[in-house]
Symmetry: C2
């Protein structure tokens, strides 16, 4: 089954409503910025690369009905859309990267007529999606080389099709290894609080015919100690210049367990997830989400005493020292990260 | 509020139905072995020391209506009860310890008349409960010395009142520190899959006025990295002669995180949890529980695709190398564990 997370259809953003999975594969059509903001906020669409695409298309939604023909008014409208989309979630680099890319292409074409600029923006937003499709396949190709036949991979959250346009980063590596004929077994951490592992990764891996087993997050150390895990591959929401990587809360946990058990720990992400303006992970803003995501399962089933105090950071930062390699669309990056990230991201192709 | 997990009332076992917490503090009265077996299996009563008490009282339920007056028939009935109770859950040492203790006292009194032996058994079962109440307070006193004022402690699962008769082991340390006037802040891992942290520890800590915050299990590493945790204290279900300790799945995880972050990791348990017949943790049988505990929250809310493969070990084993000290009712045991466990467990008192 071909699954496409986000697309532009009939002048609207069409996306899979990820809050409905795994029970229902339902689509949302979004034609205004407010609904997109909401969809990002409540995570009907999530995953750094998918957010980059949502931001690009969202910018077009923000300006497509601008009635004027003056650049200055149009530019104000564009900046307003940018600020609004950017306020939805703070951590994933790709969201901001998508916004900035649209702003840049508009700025570069500001001498054009407004209808023409609108067309250029839509075309750029579509290009972001096309590039992601290529990019994920490059990540898959680079990463699959790191996996031997009959490997067992542990992953967390969802860095798969549903986090990108149609292929995945961390799970893209697994899909590619499978395409190459390797037998890969996957353990998926359920990924509390929002259970993206259980709901999304298990679902899409199953759709794609991958042998997947779900575990409670607490089971990872036990599996490693029993020698069951050959590698951990996770996605990323933002990667600093030194390689420090923000990803779903619990990722740091797995990286430390890998260090202790001498298991390779990989981060898979496209160039657009790197934020070379920040030196290290300390500058990455960690989104704090509401208590009910923890105290009520999927905001429905209460599991704790009413009014319980909860701390609910959505991400943690894995220091580069714990990362065996960064699997990118430009190639696999190894230590020293600060130097090699710059060098390798400049390449045009995966080598 | 005084909370008592298990008691003997009106010729029945009265216990708090822990599957109903935190919504309802409901009691179960159990007057036959089958219902007790079921209550242990589905974890209406759980926690190693509470299971020791349940086993003792259960042995009495198993023989109290024996109509004969012959030791050999009575002894067969006793052994049948022993085997049946022992088949409920495999990991917690205290369950077997309680059974063995009753068998021993019966054997030692086999020359007595059967009604007298029955009385002796009930009296021994009650003694197990009284001893646990004292024992937990000793653990609390020994452990509290390890906590400075204004410490923040992270714990997993429930090693509190609800895992014992009325005081707790790991949480007993916290209650005692609080009684001594120390300000202790607690983070409680929710403890997937069965959420004993969220449902039980958060509940009882709140009842006892302790400052407690719930987290998803995935958040532990982030808290430690931010310098928020001064110590981790967990309970144990079985401790081998070398100090290797089986406890709720996820405990090994925390021990490794502590090692990485140089945070003390303590196990708190009474002498009855030690199994000196086994050399190390490799011989501890790990209970595998059913998939639905992971794929459906509290067996109700589905969170994964139907028919998903699940691995659900209930426990993991933390190797002694990762344990900073064992807090027992005979004192705090430090390395070398093999030697010191034997030496200190022979003591009569906490020193």
């Amino acid at each position: 089954m071909y699954i496409r997370t986000i697309d532009w259809k009939n002048n609207k953003i069409r996306l899979i409503d990820q809050t409905k999975l795994p029970r229902k594969l339902a689509y949302l059509d979004i034609d205004n910025l407010k609904n997109l903001w909401q969809a990002i906020k409540i995570m009907q669409v999530r995953g750094a690369p998918a957010l980059g695409a949502a931001a690009g298309l969202g910018m077009y939604l923000g300006i497509k009905d601008y009635p004027g023909s003056d650049w200055s008014g149009f530019s104000r409208r564009l900046n307003k859309a940018a600020g609004y989309i950017a306020s939805s979630r703070p951590t994933a680099r790709n969201l901001f990267w998508g916004i900035e890319r649209i702003c840049r292409i508009a700025e570069n074409n500001k001498k054009q007529l407004i209808p023409k600029i609108k067309k250029i923006i839509l075309s750029e937003a579509k290009k972001i999606m096309r590039e992601d499709m290529v990019s994920c396949r490059k990540i898959g190709a680079c990463g699959a080389k790191l996996l031997k036949d009959s490997s067992t991979v542990l992953t967390i959250c969802n860095a798969g099709i549903l986090a990108t346009i149609d292929y995945g980063t961390a799970l893209g590596v697994i899909y590619r290894a499978k395409e190459e004929g390797k037998k890969i077994k996957v353990f998926s951490c359920e990924t509390r609080p929002l259970l993206q592992g259980a709901r999304l990764s298990v679902w899409e891996l199953h759709q794609k015919g991958v042998d997947v087993t779900m575990i409670a997050d607490n089971t990872a150390a036990w599996l490693m100690r029993n020698g069951e895990i050959d590698a951990v591959i996770a996605g990323a929401d933002r990667i600093a210049a030194n390689g420090d990587s923000a990803n779903k809360i619990g990722t740091l946990n797995l990286a430390i367990l890998c260090k202790y058990h001498k298991i390779p720990f990989y981060i898979a992400a496209p160039k657009s997830t790197f934020d070379l303006k920040i030196k290290n992970g300390h500058s990455i803003e960690i989104e704090m989400r509401k208590a009910e995501e923890v105290s009520k399962i999927l905001l429905k089933k209460d599991i704790a005493p009413f009014g319980v105090k909860v701390l609910n950071p959505a991400f943690d930062v894995t220091p580069h020292q714990l990362i065996s390699a960064l699997i990118t669309d430009r190639g696999v990056i190894r230590r020293p990260y600060f130097k090699n990230i710059r060098k390798i991201l400049e390449r045009e192709k995966c080598v």
